[in-house]
């Protein structure tokens, strides 16, 4: 992965379109350009060297060699449009689609579901056993673009791309997923909350690849719900909420996990805002209080489709609705 940096002078007229962000790899190019207008935005990819990886070790070795000049190609459903717009211009593409060891869902350990990074959305949405143990996905997956995109796109690609308006980073955050990362130097694991650090930016170092995501199985007496507001089906969320609630034996809230997409530079964990629910029954008033708390916590920036106030407003609406639905679903698994 790379780090985004924007030389202020060259990009004086910065495009702020939320889905065509400046993912400029070749910063040096900007300095060479000598142009007061930006490089032409045109729609065929720039040339690159293509290597179909034969093994994970080989892929990691290549990435270690090329660093930020290389990108991993998984589903390509975010990377290729960026390359077609010439907003991304990697010198090298390492195609990891052949690495079948990186795809698949491992439920052998009952407590944890391990999903390979190159597992396609399509595989996830057709795996009823998976959806049963990770029900947030059942709600969230249909919101991701359209079937044609889901037939290629991968969960690892999505999470590595780290678009804050995307659904799965919020789901991973709500579920407190663990991200397994490898490089030719070794392996490390960290929480989703540490993984997403900025707009379109993860903590992945130049030589690293997200290889697996571990999701804890739903706790007893829990229910979950993902909801979003988007302009059209499949569009990026103007705001979205992933909620997981578990109840104690008396039917009161025991734990609430709450994460939002679309309202910050990264997915936003607002579980603390739901602290007032712990030990409480589910009442309209209690949920409204949480919604207000969430609204006070977030700082959405607005975009061409929605003002920041509207985003803040619907974040509150969705918080209430998602919590109510999650609560209602407890015990219906």
């Amino acid at each position: 992965m790379f780090r985004r940096s924007l030389p202020a002078d060259a990009w004086g007229l910065l495009l702020t379109c939320p889905t065509s962000r400046q993912i400029i790899d070749d910063v040096a190019f900007a300095k060479r350009a000598r142009m007061l207008c930006r490089p032409a935005r045109t729609m065929k990819p720039a040339p690159f060297k293509y290597i179909a990886a034969s093994s994970l070790d080989q892929a990691l070795a290549l990435k270690a060699e090329y660093g930020d000049e290389a990108r991993f190609l998984a589903g390509g459903q975010s990377l290729i449009p960026a390359m077609n717009f010439r907003l991304a211009r990697p010198a090298v593409l390492i195609d990891i689609n052949p690495l079948s060891e990186l795809a698949g869902i491992d439920r052998s350990d009952g407590e944890t579901i391990r999903v390979g990074a190159v597992t396609r959305y399509r595989a996830l949405e057709r795996d009823t056993a998976f959806l049963n143990v990770c029900p947030l996905f059942a709600d969230a997956l249909p919101h991701i673009a359209h079937p044609q995109i889901r037939n290629r796109g991968t969960i690892g690609g999505n999470l590595s791309h780290a678009d804050p308006a995307s659904e799965l980073p919020a789901v991973a955050t709500a579920m407190q997923a663990r991200m397994k990362i490898r490089s030719s130097q070794g392996e490390r694991e960290l929480a989703a909350s540490e993984f997403f650090i900025d707009l379109l930016t993860t903590c992945l170092e130049p030589g690293e690849m997200l290889v697996e995501i571990a999701f804890p199985a739903s706790p007893l007496r829990s229910g979950s719900c993902f909801m979003e507001v988007a302009r059209r089906r499949g569009d990026f969320a103007l705001a979205g909420v992933a909620a997981i609630v578990s109840l104690d034996e008396d039917g009161q809230f025991a734990e609430v996990r709450l994460a939002l997409c679309g309202v910050g530079e990264t997915p936003v964990d607002v579980s603390d805002a739901a602290a007032s629910l712990i030990g409480q029954r589910c009442t309209d008033q209690a949920l409204k209080a949480v919604a207000a708390e969430v609204q006070g916590t977030i700082s959405p920036s607005g975009n061409v489709h929605a003002s920041a106030d509207y985003q803040r407003h619907i974040a509150g609406v969705l918080t209430r609705r998602a919590l109510a639905s999650a609560h209602e679903r407890v015990g219906h698994a």
Binding site: L13, L15, M43, P81, V229, D235, V304, A306, D309
Partner: protein, 782 residues
């Protein structure tokens, strides 16, 4: 003439080719030695060009040539004024047409600066990055009101201001009307129409045959004949040396008729220089800036009414965003000005507009062509007046409709075809009645809405009425020829972008000549097959070309009957023309096939007298004296989520009158498509510019076209009030669906959320959930 096909929902002749992927679209044209062009386009909206250095680009392997304005030499000049201003007294019109490549000044983002020609489009785009352009960036003129303030930057420095045109038209005496009024209402309205965004972008392929001195141009144009004429003149060629072919075109909707686009002007010139064919296909990002837009107007409008809600007069002053150049004249704002009058009796009208130059893409007609803006104003004024006066919105419209005995109805002011606006025929009240019945207006307001509101649901209803001036001149022509195999070939000068000409025109011919509709092949859009014509625009194809096809078919029919009557030595009245043959009535065994007649009409011996032609063919032209006025009513019921402000359309009704209908199936398709674009315009599509004239949402991910989940199933009905202006009685229908959707949304949302009670009015388009939220918030503050 028996009608077997005319008026029937005949399935389309052209479908098989399209369904099997064999129809030829522009990017399917492959030629030996084909080169590819890419255009370096300005990323800034307003700048002076200090220098352009293409030297590095020329060094790139695979690059064959790079051209700038300098290289075009004397070929470089501003394009023609395609539509001069109408002869309106006192008009101010400052002609500033666009140029093939920017020379000293860039006036909008997307304006082309240089062209790279290379062995592939990929390489050509690589080379664009090699070109160094030194610009002095100037402030961009984007806001219409600021553009007219003293001291504003000028889009055209030599003009000294940003006035592209100033037009005032009036009839009656508004001042007097307002003085007598029981109620006058004044509001400011903002209406933005969007871009056409067909699924196929534009493209040009130019091939120069040096030996034959012949130029062939494939072009996604809606006006191949005009392109041929202008191009021939510009290139110094005879018109017979230039062939323009509009192949299958993936949607036109208006902007594919603007000409000459820089790409249309330069590709042929380069092809002559390089002596190799060249292709340019517009990519989607280019389309957002390089193909013309419709955009916005700001109206300060006032209506004067009596106590019964009858309109005494309307006064309107508006600003129109013209864009950087005005080759297409004033079609769009004139349409706004005229169509505001709608189907209503408006005795006094005073309308003034200023068309404003801005540093944005040129504005030319897009489906509706400015009518939307005018319709929004009058429909909203009537809704607001209805509320003030305590009159039902449907009733206030009814009271103002032009009565059916008032036609032809003179509206006096000058229309886009330069003739005084006159509605040829119409019967408006039944259309309103049908629409109200179809939407269940009475029962909704009296029963369903109160019941649903009691359940806490937010449902609203709206109606909107409109007229559409269609079928204007100048003319079209058609050649109909019976071949010796009995099939019929037809050629006409208009192009086709999905309207079904290959079928609808065939239906006309099939009935006149008694052949099967599948035995008629239609060629459109090839200037070698038909020399004369104007093009497909302004909902005129069926009316004008259709009638030309009819005239030519009639002439051929007469010839066939004459030949047969000579052959049988009987009277023409005793003959029957059916099933591809002419026979004697009552004696079916006595027949001659049409193909045989065609053969006999081309004698190997004997004489063909002057004043006649050989063969069974005829070329005829049709030019209506003025446009035919169609009309309609849309009605809609919506439900709104009172927290997210997203909406669902529960029911959508269109009742339409476009006179005689050739093919009801094709007509319905046109209505469906128009409404879909109207829904996009009203609630989804918005061009977002920043203060530098940069389009922030130049992709289909962020410019939101409606999907199958956003466009409802529609209930359609129609009435038929034929036009007296053409023998077939046809009126145009292509734009109708798109025109009144804006006010429909505004009224329905206001009704669903009961906004008028809170004094909140929706006076702008496009709306969106976020915008409605904001307007309610603003309204609550005041």
């Amino acid at each position: 003439m028996t009608t077997r096909f005319f008026g029937a929902p005949v399935k389309r002749n052209e479908d098989r080719k399209l369904l099997t992927g064999r129809a030829l679209f522009i990017d399917d044209v492959e030629l030996p030695g084909l080169l590819h062009a890419a255009f370096l386009r300005s990323q800034v909206a307003h700048a002076r060009i200090n220098s352009i250095d293409v030297s590095e680009a020329l060094k790139r392997p695979g690059v064959v040539a790079v051209y700038t304005a300098e290289d075009l030499g004397p070929y470089w000049r501003p394009g023609p004024l395609l539509v001069p201003p109408p002869p309106i007294p006192g008009i101010v019109f400052n002609t500033r047409t666009h140029v093939p490549l920017a020379k000293d000044t860039i006036r909008c983002a997307g304006e082309p600066i240089a062209i790279v020609v290379a062995e592939s489009r990929y390489i050509a785009e690589d080379a664009l990055d090699d070109i160094a352009v030194d610009l002095e960036i100037l402030p961009a003129v984007v806001d219409l009101e600021q553009a007219l303030e003293k001291g504003s930057t000028c889009v055209h420095a030599d003009l000294g201001n940003n006035v592209a045109a100033h037009v005032r038209q009036a009839k009656g005496d508004y001042k007097r009307a307002a003085a007598k009024a029981h109620l006058t209402l004044k509001r400011r309205f903002r209406y933005e129409h969007g871009i056409s965004s067909p699924i196929e972008t534009r493209g040009v392929v130019a091939q120069w045959d040096e030996r034959a001195e012949h130029m062939t141009v494939w072009d996604t144009t809606q006006a191949p004949v005009f392109v041929r004429n202008v191009l021939a003149g510009a290139l110094g060629l005879g018109e017979g040396q230039v062939r323009v072919i509009a192949p299958f075109v993936g949607g036109g909707f208006g902007p594919k008729i603007m000409m000459l686009y820089p790409e249309e002007a330069t590709l042929p010139w380069m092809a002559m220089r390089l002596n190799r064919p060249i292709k340019w296909i517009e990519d989607r990002f280019e389309h957002f800036v390089a193909t013309t837009h419709e955009r916005g107007q700001i109206h300060d409008a006032e209506i004067a009414l009596d106590k019964d809600g009858r309109i005494l007069g309307v006064k309107d002053v508006f600003l129109h965003d013209n864009g950087a150049y005005n080759p297409y004249g004033l079609t769009v704002p004139i349409n706004s000005q005229c169509t505001l009058l709608g189907p209503y009796v408006i005795p006094a009208y005073d309308s003034t507009f200023t068309s404003v130059f801005t540093n944005l893409t040129i504005v030319t007609p897009y489906r509706g062509a400015g009518r939307q803006h005018g319709v929004f104003v009058i429909e909203r004024l009537l809704d607001l007046a209805a509320h003030e006066l305590g009159i039902d919105p449907a009733e206030i419209r009814r009271r103002n409709l032009i009565p059916k005995d008032a036609f032809p109805y003179k509206n006096e002011i000058i229309y886009q075809d330069f003739a005084p606006l006159e509605y040829d025929s119409g019967n408006y009240e039944p259309v309103l009645d049908k629409a109200l019945a179809a939407i269940g207006y009475e029962s909704f307001i009296r029963e369903e809405q109160p019941k649903l509101r009691a359940q806490g649901r937010h449902v609203g209803i709206s109606i909107a009425c409109y007229v559409e001036g269609t079928g204007i001149g100048p003319y079209e022509g058609a050649k109909v020829q019976v071949r010796t195999n009995g099939k019929v070939s037809v050629a006409t000068g208009v192009g086709t972008q999905g309207q079904g000409h290959f079928t609808s025109f065939a239906q006309i011919v099939a009935d006149q000549l008694g052949v099967d509709v599948t035995d008629v092949d239609i060629v459109t859009g090839d200037t070698d097959r038909f020399y004369w014509g104007a093009g497909t625009f302004a909902s005129r194809g069926a009316v004008v070309a259709g009638n030309a096809v009819n005239e030519a078919s009639l002439a051929v029919r007469k010839k066939a009957l004459k030949f047969a009557s000579d052959a049988f030595e009987c009277a023409e009245e005793d003959l029957v023309l059916a099933d591809g043959k002419v026979s004697i009535a009552g004696i079916p065994e006595k027949f001659i096939r049409l193909g045989e007649l065609a053969q006999r009409a081309n004698p190997m011996r004997g004489a063909v007298k002057p004043g006649t032609e050989p063969g069974l063919e005829s070329t005829q032209y049709f030019g209506p004296p003025s446009g035919a006025t169609a009309n309609g009513v849309h009605a809609m019921i919506v439900e709104i989520d009172p927290e997210t402000f997203d909406l669902q359309i529960r029911k959508y009704v269109v009742v339409h009158d476009c006179g005689t209908v050739i093919n009801p199936m094709i007509l319905e398709g046109q209505i469906h498509g128009g409404v879909a674009q109207g829904i996009g315009n009203a609630f989804f599509e918005k061009l977002s510019f920043d203060e530098h004239g940069q389009l922030l949402n130049a992709s289909l991910a962020d410019y939101l076209l409606p999907t199958s989940l956003d466009v409802p199933r529609m209930v359609l009905d129609h009435t038929v009030t034929p036009s007296p202006l053409n023998p077939l009685g046809i009126k145009g229908a292509g734009e109708a669906g798109a025109i009144p959707v804006g006010p429909l949304f505004a009224q329905a949302i206001e009704d669903a959320l009961q906004l008028k009670k809170s004094g909140i009015e929706l006076l702008e388009i496009p709306l969106s959930p976020s915008r409605v939220f904001e307007l309610i918030g603003e309204g609550r503050k005041t």
